[in-house]
């Protein structure tokens, strides 16, 4: 049974943060209170029935006192273009928080956060929650170019290493080039980004014997596990089966995902 809420959220800010990239801040106090890192919301992009479906977005941050939810997105089609055109005071239908988020450690420990491109969105929220629990966080952040790098704000206990494909910031190359910088004292890792990146991260971490979780992305219709449209192949025990990214994920133990 879903604990999700269906609310009317007021747009507080729509900011262009890079070419085709936007930050959307919504007034949705109940969602801000309930959301956990790794969970997502389904946003209706207008009031018409075309484009039809809601769009899923990871929660990139919450301000529980102000009752605000922050989303980061790239304009990839008609739905996201409509959202990019919203202005303060506009009202959007929000369904969420949805899905299974990241497992947070019980005690303060060292964690690695590995994100590529828009995959950094849920990890920004995660980094803040981990720091609030006294964890030490090393963030490995990758992007095409420096302008598309979304990294946590500087904070004690949080160290950010950067890689860009065009070499405009940090180490040139993919974020996986930074994996040797995950220190031995790190107890677990969290990753989100393109599937190929996640596959490479999971393989390397498996080799090192480090457990972790990955946040997956898939086309979705319902967002609550009803339509079975967003499945990915996972291992349950010995057996490979389909799991819904929306309800059984989007966060999965890295060892459960069938990467082929």
């Amino acid at each position: 049974m879903s604990a999700a809420l269906l609310v009317e959220a007021v747009v507080l800010r729509t900011e262009r943060v890079a070419p085709d990239h936007y930050r959307l801040v919504l007034q949705a106090p109940e969602v801000a209170r309930a959301a956990r890192p790794g969970q997502f919301v389904m946003v209706r992009c207008g009031s018409a029935w075309d484009p039809l479906l809601r769009r899923p977005f990871s929660v990139a941050g919450v301000d529980r006192e102000a009752g605000a939810v922050t989303l980061l997105f790239r304009v990839v089609g008609r739905g996201t273009a409509l959202l990019a055109g919203t202005a303060p005071g506009d009202v959007l239908s929000l369904l969420g928080p949805l899905g299974r988020g990241f497992t947070l450690p019980q005690a303060a420990e060292a964690a690695a956060i590995i994100g590529g491109g828009m995959g950094l969105a849920p990890l920004l929220f995660l980094a803040r929650e981990l720091l609030a629990r006294g964890c030490r966080v090393r963030v490995l952040a990758g992007a095409r170019s420096r302008q598309y790098l979304f990294v946590p704000e500087p904070a004690p206990g949080c160290e950010v290493l950067v890689a860009t494909e065009d070499g405009s910031a940090g180490r040139p190359g993919p974020v996986t080039a930074l994996l040797p910088f995950v220190e031995p004292e790190v107890r677990r890792y969290y990753a989100c980004g393109p599937r190929e990146m996640l596959r490479a991260v999971a393989a390397e971490m498996k080799r090192r014997g480090l457990p972790g979780e990955v946040c997956l992305e898939e086309r979705m219709a319902c967002g609550v596990g009803a339509c079975r449209g967003c499945v990915c192949r996972v291992l349950r025990g010995e057996r490979a089966t389909y799991a819904t990214v929306c309800a059984e994920g989007p966060v999965f133990p890295a060892g459960e995902v069938c990467w082929e």
Binding site: R44, D50, E218, V224, A226, G229, V231, C232
Partner: protein
């Protein structure tokens, strides 16, 4: 005075004409925290098969103009799970349940009907004769009057429950298939299932869906569905559950006026989980504003001639 909403479809009586379309509302539990299930006339659950079914490889969905394609492939946890968990959950919440069934042979449909016949609390069986996304069964039965009749007859023999035959509009002679299903013992017809379609990813130069083809649903197919209801009602005057792209009360009223005695909300749930409730509210308002005492007065009214 509040307008009367109770409808009678053969032996199937519903407190109001709003039901959920199979495959769009899971087993009700997925939406239980968001929707007041007791308000619905009935919940039609996702199609059940004898054994659990894994479904098709992803991607399974694609958005299209005012609609979407799906190729889920009848993924479901199987009828045993439904009897142990799915059905009790809905019964506890006091909502009538319609079980949708699918098989690869008439014998499989009959076996499902026999198992479900003994289940307490089922309002009816809906025989899915029109799933476009499976290699065997589904549309292969619904596309042909003789095959549709054979499956319906097998189900009819295996159960005392009201039987609903869910048909596709993608047939040469829909009235012939509808008549065959009714003569074989169907009490009600569900019109229509999704329409076969496909989308091609022009960047990857490959089909979007893992299954290549999918079923088109949403507002895009509504005119096709309304036509199907009109045509079958005109020829057969039988009880019909109309569906296909209903997102508002006015859409549902189109179906009723064309001849549907009940209506199902489907894809709209993905956009608005409360769509069925809101359509029901809108129908009540329409009836009250126009001084129509009973929803049944609207059924088929667009055909004229009284």
């Amino acid at each position: 005075m509040r307008p009367r909403l109770r409808v009678k479809l053969g032996r199937l009586e519903l407190k109001n004409p709003l039901v959920t379309a199979s495959g769009t509302f899971g087993f009700g539990r997925e939406y239980a925290g968001l929707v007041d299930l007791r308000r619905l006339g009935a919940v039609t659950v996702k199609s059940l098969t004898l054994r659990p079914r894994a479904g098709n490889p992803p991607p399974r969905i694609a958005e299209t103009p005012a609609g979407m394609l799906n190729a889920i492939g009848l993924e479901n946890p199987g009828v045993e799970w439904f009897l142990a968990e799915g059905l009790p959950f809905l019964r506890e919440r006091g909502v009538p349940v319609i079980a949708s069934i699918a098989g690869e042979t008439p014998e499989e449909y009959a076996a499902l009907a026999a198992v479900l016949d003994r289940a307490p609390g089922l309002a009816a069986l809906e025989v899915n004769l029109s799933c476009p996304n499976v290699a065997r069964g589904g549309l292969a039965f619904g596309g042909d009057p003789a095959a549709a009749a054979e499956v319906t007859r097998a189900v009819r023999k295996a159960t005392g429950l009201p039987v609903i035959a869910k048909l596709s509009a993608l047939v040469t002679d829909l009235v012939a298939v509808a008549r065959a299903a009714l003569e074989a013992g169907a009490d009600v017809l569900s019109l229509i299932n999704t329409l076969p379609g496909m989308a091609v990813d022009v960047d990857r130069r490959r089909p979007v869906l893992g299954n290549v083809f999918g079923g088109l649903s949403g507002p895009a197919i509504r005119p096709v569905a309304v036509r199907a209801v009109w045509q079958v009602y005109a020829a057969l005057r039988c009880p019909i559950i109309g569906m296909g792209g209903i997102v508002t009360a006015r859409d549902a009223l189109e179906f009723a006026l064309a001849g549907a005695r009940a209506v199902a909300v489907g894809t709209a749930h993905f956009v608005n989980p409360r769509a069925a409730e809101e359509v029901l509210d809108g129908i009540e308002r329409y009836l009250a504003e126009r001084g129509v005492a009973d929803f049944n007065e609207l059924v088929g009214a667009a055909h004229g001639g009284g």
